[in-house]
Point group: C2
Chain length 354, copies 2
Amino acid sequence: MVVHRAEPYNAEPPPYALADQAVTSLDTFYSRNHGAIPDLDPSAWRLAVDGLVDRPLTLSLDELRAGFPERTLVATLQCAGNRRAGFVQVRDIPGEDPWGPGATSTATWTGVSLADVLASAGLRPGAAHIAFTAPDVSELAGPREPYGGSIPTAKATAGEVLLAWAMNGRTLPRVHGAPLRVVVPGWIGARSVKWLQRVTAQAEPSGNYFQAVAYRILPAESDPDRARPGDGISLGSVALNCAILGPAAGARLRRGLVEVTGYAYAGDDRAVARMDVSLDEGRTWTQARLAPPDGPWAWQHWRVTVDLPEGETAITARAWDTTGATQPEQARHLWNPKGYANNSWDRIAVTCVP
Amino acid sequence: MVVHRAEPYNAEPPPYALADQAVTSLDTFYSRNHGAIPDLDPSAWRLAVDGLVDRPLTLSLDELRAGFPERTLVATLQCAGNRRAGFVQVRDIPGEDPWGPGATSTATWTGVSLADVLASAGLRPGAAHIAFTAPDVSELAGPREPYGGSIPTAKATAGEVLLAWAMNGRTLPRVHGAPLRVVVPGWIGARSVKWLQRVTAQAEPSGNYFQAVAYRILPAESDPDRARPGDGISLGSVALNCAILGPAAGARLRRGLVEVTGYAYAGDDRAVARMDVSLDEGRTWTQARLAPPDGPWAWQHWRVTVDLPEGETAITARAWDTTGATQPEQARHLWNPKGYANNSWDRIAVTCVP
C-alpha cells in the first residue's frame, strides 16, 4: 500500500495491485479516514434510526440480521480525492493527500438494504434526506466534530444502499467500518459512512462539516479556508472516470506490442459505453475491450494491445458513458481548491528500448 | 428561423431568439424532420398500444383525453445534432445539417402520462422497451422506412414521459407532431416521436433505422456508411451542454461592460450546478447567475456582466452538473462521423471598438 498518512490512516494500493482484479482483496482496498479508527464492541454496539420516522428503532447487529432480508452486491467505492495527484502537478493543494488512481476499489458487500430498515421505521412526509453519524472524530473539521454525511431519500430508498457487516464474504474489518458501515453504490466514498451508529431522517442535508463544507467543488479562485456551509458543488454521484493500471507510469519496456490495462467507472446512474486509448495525445484513439461489469454498481476493467515505438510515448486513456458523454481533457481546467473529482483524461509516459 | 433544409423541413431559431425566453414560442421552436410532414385527420386518427401488454388498446384522441389524467410540464427538447456546426469546422460531415445551438427549445407540454396508458394496457414481464412508430417516411433510412424509436420501460413508466396534444397551451401544430407526439424529457429529441400512431411494448430496443443505426456515436475513424445496427453508443439521455446566446458571434460592440447570456442544460438525471464564462480561453473563469429552472426537465438561462477590452475577444462558456462533472474542452476531440452530441465548451468571438 502507498501510505499517504499514518494518523489518520490513509492509504491506497499501487495501480498494478488493482489490475485484473474485478473484486479488490481486503488488504488491497483503499482506506480513507478522517480521524482515529474507532474500536467498537459489536455486542454492545447499537444502531439508532430516528428523526422523521413513525417508529424510532434501536437495533443490535443480531436484530438487524434477523429482522431484514440479507442482501449482497458488488459495488465500487471511489474517494472524491481519487487522482488528486494530477491536480497537485498543476498547483499545490495544502492539507490534502495526493491520491493516485488507487483511491478506488471494489468489494462484494453483504448486509441489509437501508430501504428495508427505513420502511420498518416508517418515513414521515418531509423526510427528504437520510443522515449518517459515526463516532470517529476529525481534527480537520472546524470546529472538531464526529464524521457524518447524508444522501437524498430517493437514493436511500432505491434499494441498493446497504448497511453492510461483511466484505468479500468476511466480517467487515475494523479499518473498513466494523461492525456496520453504509455502502452507497455509485456515490463518492465519503457518503459510505463507516462505524455507523445513527441513521436520521430529516428535511435538510446533513449539517456535518464533511457534507456542508468539505467534499465540495469550489471555484478555482476561491479561498477554501473561507468556504461557508453550502458553498460550491456538493459531491454525490461519482463523475465518469478511468485510469491506466498497466504498464506502470515511467516503465522502461521493450518496444513492440504491449498490453495496456485499466479501470473505468461511470458512477450512479450511467454505465461505461466505450473506452479509448491514444498514443498521440488524443489525436487518434484505439478502442479497448471492456470486461463485463459485476452488476450495475461495479467498475469495468479494460485492456488493449498497442504497438509502442522506441523512445518515450505518452499513453492517454478516456472513457465514454451511455449518454455519449466523455471525460474532459486537462486536469488544469478542473483544478479546484480541495482537489476533488479529477476526471480528466488519464496519462502516463513510458520509455521503450529496442 | 435559420432553414437548413426545406424538404424535409429542418430549421432552428437564431441564438438571440432563444435568449431570455424560458419557454420558446411556437414559431421559434426548432423543427427537425426526417421526411415529409404528415397531415393527419385528428378525428380519424387512432393510437394503437400493443406488443407485450395484457390488453391491447386502440384509442381516439377523445378517449385519451377522457380516459387518463391530464398532465402539463415544461420540458426542453434538444436535437442530438445540436451544435454540429462546431464539428463541421473540424471536419466535414456530409449529409448532416450544420445545426447551431438553436436545435434546443423549451415548451409547456400538455397530454397524458405514457406511464398511465401503459398501466391501463398492462405491461407483461419482459417488456423492457417501449417503441414508438410514426407515419413520416424518411429517404435517409436504408432501406426507406417510416420513423421510429424506443426508450427503456424504466424511463417510459417514470411518469414524466407525455403523449402530448398541446404545446404552450395551444393545439399541437402540425409541424410539431399533431395530433399527438411523445415528449421524453431529458432525452435527445429523436425519441420524442411526432405524429405518433403506435406504442409497442417489446423485449428489445426498436429495430428502426433511427434507433439501431442513426443517433449513435461512432468512432471517429469509422465509415458511417458501413455502420451496422447496434454499432456505436446509442444516444438517449442528453449530455451536459451550454450555449452563448448573446452577444452574437462576430458582433462589433463598444468596449466595456457587456452582458453575456445563454442557456445550460444537464439532461435526464442531473441538473446544472454552476455556469462559468471565460475571456481568456479558459485560464480563468467568472461564474454566471443561473435563472431557476421551470421544473426538473427545463434548461436554465444564465447571465453575467463582463468587461470587454478593445479588440477581438474570445468568450468561452462551460457548465458543471450536480455530480461535479463539467464539459470537455475541444470539439475536435469529440468529433464523430454523424456529428452528434457536441457538448464541448461553447466559444464565440466578438470585437470591441473604443
